[in-house]
Symmetry: C2
Subunit: 601 residues, 2 copies
């Protein structure tokens, strides 16, 4: 097994050299922190990942949770892990001091998630609790806050997001779980939820579902959905805990992320499930959407983390595995075999993995930084950060997950036949990462969000802001002879992206949404390639500056040169994919819209 | 679970309408057959697949073979399946009457494999036996033939291909298993083999390994490798079977194809493993290579079959699963949800799957047809078929497997969250197919074979022949107004492919093989896209002719129109990928060849 699953050097580079995270501490809200506290949090997460997660990577996969007599049993380390997370203050890392948190930026708390998920994404419990607790702190009453949040941040109570129903997956407007008002202000909940991650298990003393349901008589569609706290055990009048009639109907057996039970839950079988309204009635979906950027950064981080762990496993194997001789020395049969990293095809696969994983992480930190600024800044700065973040989110969720799937596939390929066996971790990571293009909005949904909403909101202001940001990096790059051509190339890609968008606009103008969005997934792919090119050029500029000013040596020299080299790889190998995508997107031929006459597919 | 895992209609279309398989019966060797016997064999395979394979798809996956006390136990149905295959004459389908076979074309026997692997690729036993027996019939002595082949074709004895060793995977020249001549003409074998599929199990009475080993004192490298029959049980002087000291050292636990044990074998632990030389000494690798086209068609068929089964599962789900409303009817909340096949993004994913799977199958039948002609024709016809086949093989192995992996991924995505669960077959097929870009020569090895050998052999005659074949289809297409633009597009792609090749040639001329082949995998990808475009245009021409002459109705009409539609899809969505590939391949920047100065990857 690989002993390295992420690079702390790269984390520090992105955080401190590329994104200057400590600039955030100039804002009042983050002023208690500095670079040292940021690094301490990262070290603390690393310690937990090293000791309580990574050693159990395979065990957690091979002993998936089972449902017996209504009880779900998970790996015994989960409890220890959650308590350690609670004690280290990592579940509440991003919460305010007032809420019992550490008031850390999203940049830091999402890196905590990255480290944990790189170590063992089958122990994905703490992020769910954070997300659920954050809904309560953001929209819930003081009573809900006082009762639930401290136990959740301590790692004693598990939080979940309970949205999906058998008939309502991508289409949340079709949620039918019902909530009937009771005289005491509570609601009786009835219905079913599926795919609820960590929806029941024995490592937590209670499970707190943040659940979408429809109050009796509510409007149809998304405008009639409300948000409730629905605990597994609720307090009775005496304060004692009683069963809240949330039944574990089934546990899904999955291809990957086997350590986390995905539950099928039934509420109200005995007409005895109580829910507590969070915020106002019918505001459930807007509340969820306000949390969605955070959740989607989390999924992107998970995907980037899994792909990173696979990359380091493949890299180590490629350095150690001798096979064949170099192609120009094929006939030297007496020569020892060369490590496969010396074969151009293997090196290409590794550079692809590096470009995807480090490009993804950079993009996600960019998004997290915008999230932080949108929270603590004011006026135009706040508004612009919000718009940019909103625009980048579909990409920051889907690029790491879609390209991460391909990246792990190349990690597996690097191992050859061994990659297909349980002797190495990549086959597991290959299975695990495949869920990321599905949950928190499939890639198709992200694409509709990008092209159907984000590109056009506020008169197209978001892409204008983005292009201005990218142009700044192009200007920075133009100061260095070796980087200027890549800046020029990126400028051309911006132009291409705009051309494509302009060619699609008439369909939107005519109100033909179906046609406008028919190839939205390909537009998302194109947009993602360009956005990550921006992230790579940004990293390369910083690396070039460091090479010129810091006079680095040894590993440090190789690190910075590796950054520039990988940027070049990305521009020479990945960016040209926009040619084919643009051709297709501008192509007037319609082939995927249903006509009356059905085809035999 | 899906009840359809392949389309017999499509098989008949390809076999009888596109490739006119019965033309083969004009050759003496195949003259005992006609269209009816071909169809009977396909029906016979379908019956076995339906009754003995498909019902056990999941069972075989969930009860993987275990090694206990040196014995490997497999699913009880394997024995029944192999006997049924033997009785139906399907293991020997491609063998001559003289050898106890049915003397059927490869076109038919490889379709048998396609059907079986679509039903349950975890029961991949019979093809291995056919391949091993074929090595004996092609190069072995009459004694070896008489003793081994009948039992193998009857499904009683399992055959294997025992090539790979711990230090010799892609690099077969590094095989070290030794063979020491004995006075009686046999050899004592000592060494280890890994990843030997079906290398030991209890459903066969004996296991017959076709094993590569090096006779003491043999030349180094590939020129000193010999081929041996090494049985699990060998006959002693009295004719009784004794243990041949082939020990099952371990069974690999794999991500997919779990029904077939991949064995680690140790020969000669007790200095008591005998091997029987097949053919001449030191000719092992050439013998293997002569069988390789057949084996690689088999792997391509396996990949195409798995992807086909996943496609039909996704198609059925997409027709039945209601979710959301059509994009131009988003606000009609009272309207029922629409089946997801009506969403353009889902339809795009399905058309992608159809274009990959049916394009792959068509290419594989083309290869099988050339294989048949190269066997039974004479003179220039034989030679040309050989050359074309040799050129197409790397593509016919790698396109179905590489694109098949992506296709099954899109099948899974079509299911959304359900695709990730064991409730549907796609998660299993997603795991199963991932081995196909690895075994029988990884994609990287196929790429080196294509660009490094096949493109240039005999002064580049093979690509000339191919381009002439493609030009014929372009000419056929030009007779139909709606197909002509696609023919023109394909002609442009041929030009592009030639340009790319010409731009790479100088490196080969200079003897800089490493540089010449640095991006060979991308050349293979480009070449594959163009070759499959040819297959799609060929199918579209036949469909157009059928629409004009047969006046089809109902399902038949939809079938032919679906073919033309899918051809268009492939040309509009997939072919443009050549733009980016060509740009990269012609790009002079070298980024994957190791220099003295090491980069921090």
């Amino acid at each position: 097994m690989a002993t390295t699953y992420f690079s702390k050097r790269n984390l520090h580079f992105l955080l401190h050299e590329v994104f200057n995270a400590d600039e955030l501490t100039q804002y009042e809200y983050f002023s208690a922190h500095d670079r040292e506290t940021f690094n301490l949090v990262i070290d603390s997460a690393t310690y937990i990942a090293d000791t309580l997660m990574y050693p159990y990577l395979k065990e957690v996969d091979q002993n998936q949770p089972e449902l017996k007599n209504g009880q779900v049993t998970v790996h015994p380390k989960v409890k220890e892990f959650m308590h350690a997370m609670g004690e280290a203050g990592l579940i509440g890392a991003g919460f305010s001091f007032e809420q019992g948190g550490q008031q850390l930026p999203q940049m830091i708390s999402s890196l905590v998630g990255f480290i944990l998920m790189a170590a063992n994404n089958g122990m994905m419990y703490s992020g769910l609790t954070s997300g659920a607790a954050h809904l309560i702190t953001s929209f819930g009453s003081p009573a809900l806050n006082e009762f639930y949040v401290p136990q959740m941040l301590a790692g004693k109570w598990q939080g979940t997001m309970a949205l999906t129903e058998p008939q309502a997956g991508s289409s949340l407007s079709d949620v039918t779980t019902s909530a009937t008002p009771q005289p005491d202000g509570t609601y009786k909940i009835k219905g079913q939820k599926v795919f609820i991650s960590a929806g029941d298990h024995d490592a937590a003393e209670n499970i707190i579902h943040l659940m979408l349901a429809r109050i009796d008589g509510a409007p149809k569609g998304t405008k009639g959905i409300s948000l409730f706290v629905v605990p597994k055990y609720r307090p009775d009048e005496t304060g004692a805990f009683v069963d809240n009639d949330v039944q574990s109907t089934g546990v899904y057996h999955k291809m990957g992320q086997k350590g986390v039970p995905a539950m099928h839950l039934t509420m109200g079988s005995n007409d005895n499930t109580l829910g507590y309204l969070v915020g106002e009635p019918h505001q459930g979906l807007p509340y969820m959407f306000q949390m969605m950027n955070e959740a989607r950064i989390g999924v992107g981080m998970t995907a980037a983390a899994i792909a990173t762990a696979a990359y380091y496993a493949a890299l180590q194997y490629a350095k150690e595995r001798p096979q064949s001789r170099r192609l120009n020395e094929k006939n030297r049969l007496d020569a020892p075999q060369t490590p496969i990293i010396n074969h151009p095809d293997v090196r290409r696969m590794l550079l692809f993995q590096k470009s995807v994983t480090e490009g993804s992480l950079s993009l996600l930190l960019e998004a997290a930084r915008l999230y932080d600024i949108s929270r603590v800044a004011e006026g135009e700065e706040k508004e612009n950060a919000f718009l940019l973040l909103d625009l980048l989110m579909p990409v920051a969720k889907s690029f790491p997950s879609e390209m991460g799937v391909q990246s792990v596939s190349q990690s597996l390929q690097t191992f050859g036949g061994y990659g297909f066996t349980e002797d190495f971790p990549v086959e597991q990571l290959y299975r695990d990462i495949r869920i990321t293009p599905i949950y928190e909005g499939t890639t198709g949904i992200q694409a509709q969000d990008l092209l159907g909403r984000k590109m056009t909101m506020k008169g197209g202001k978001a892409p204008q802001l983005l292009f201005a940001e990218i142009s700044k990096v192009i200007a920075d790059a133009s100061l260095f002879d070796d980087l200027k051509p890549y800046g020029d190339q990126l400028a051309g890609e911006l132009k291409r992206t705009q051309d494509v968008f302009v060619s699609l606009m008439p369909h939107a103008m005519k109100g033909d949404t179906e046609r406008y969005l028919a190839d939205a997934t390909l537009f998302l792919e194109l947009f993602g390639i360009v956005v990550v090119a921006w992230q790579w050029l940004k990293q390369a500029v910083v690396a070039r500056q460091a090479l010129l000013t810091k006079n680095p040596e040894g590993d440090d020299l190789a690190f910075y040169e590796g950054k520039i080299h990988t940027m070049k790889f990305y521009f020479h190998y990945e960016v040209p994919k926009t040619l084919g995508l643009a051709q297709r997107l501008k192509d007037p031929e319609v082939l995927t819209i249903v006509s009356e006459k059905e085809l035999a597919l």
